[in-house]
Symmetry: C2
Subunit: 208 residues, 2 copies
């Protein structure tokens, strides 16, 4: 299925093959390392060796940084590499965002141990990361997008790990180059974090 | 060297052995996957297989989630698992924060491809993640800490990837349970992002 198979698909769909499958496995390693904690040094030394070997193999077959940046930014629309939705980025949970008919966008995600802040809860900065990105994609869905100027986050209650979160975004107004966009993260129907952003209709040149 | 060997050390020092070494290798894999992009499916299938095998081995030797949460939060002071400074968390760059004599804190970090937002620049949400955490640690250094209530981020100019960033935080005032803290990210002496936070002196119970 291509990333644009459905009209409301705003983020790249993860494939079950190629780099996406390797990235999914890397996410599993990240979580497993955190769950394992400080096991015996000998065992972890062997894990480190295996991971270094994988990295070395990948590095040997990678293009230069400059070539890769051009390639990353060659397409239009959805990105495959960002740290929130990117199926090629193991840091991304990933969040999959879908455009709604009322002009808003929505994604659902369950966050595990790597995203922890307070005990058993999502890190406030991770909520900020998810919302900043979601507001940007909401602008794209609404037709006028830009770079973040100001972002205000309000933390209403702790955001739980290991439970389904609903992340939403909506463009509120466009006045000249100034775009206002809001969003929130809810769990069990209650707002955990809300965001209010001012974006500026400006874009950096793509590498070429 | 223990995490507290120097008085100003506010975040855990990465060790060259045990889980820290495996996590450092996992960070290398994350970056290498992103640099490699969509290579041949066959090659990536083998990479996925190797990473899945590592994850399976780690999962087999991990305690339960509940046991692990209790263990994570058993010590006092610095955490080893958070997504910004944690040497056990492959998502963390990691940022290493040091307390200054003037009451502020500071860390230096170079961010690579996994933290990209606009072409060649740090994702605005990643800057928010780094600043939210740094403000929290600045409160800890100042002696009164709490949970984020409101966080406002101002984006002054694009934050470059692949260059040294200086991340600072400072507690400005404490009025009752309300703590005000500010911070910024600078590159080449220029402010890229500034943050202004209101924290509430409250803490979630530690798992036990």
């Amino acid at each position: 299925m291509s990333a644009h198979a459905r009209p409301g698909e705003l983020t790249a769909t993860t494939r079950n093959e190629g780099v996406d499958a390797a990235v999914a496995a890397a996410r599993r390693v990240i979580a497993a390392l955190l769950h394992a904690g400080d096991g015996s040094a000998a065992e972890m030394a062997s894990v480190a060796e295996q991971l270094d070997a994988v990295a070395e193999h990948l590095e040997k077959h990678a293009p230069t940084r400059e070539e890769r940046l051009v390639d990353m930014w060659a397409g239009e629309g959805v990105t495959r590499h960002d740290p929130v939705t990117g199926p090629e980025n193991a840091i991304a949970p990933p969040l999959h965002l879908v455009g709604q008919e009322d002009g808003s966008i929505e994604g659902r995600v369950v966050l595990g141990m790597p995203y922890q802040g307070p005990p058993g809860c999502v890190h406030g900065g991770i909520s900020a990361l998810l919302l900043d990105h979601t507001l940007g994609v909401a602008n794209h869905w609404a037709g006028e997008s830009g770079m973040t100027g100001t972002l205000t986050l309000r933390y209403h209650r702790p955001t739980p790990l290991f439970e389904e979160l609903v992340v939403t975004g909506r463009q509120v107004s466009v006045e000249g180059r100034k775009i206002r966009t809001t969003g929130e993260i809810t769990a069990n129907g209650e707002v955990c974090v809300s965001a209010d952003g001012i974006f500026v209709n400006a874009h950096l040149a793509r590498p070429r």
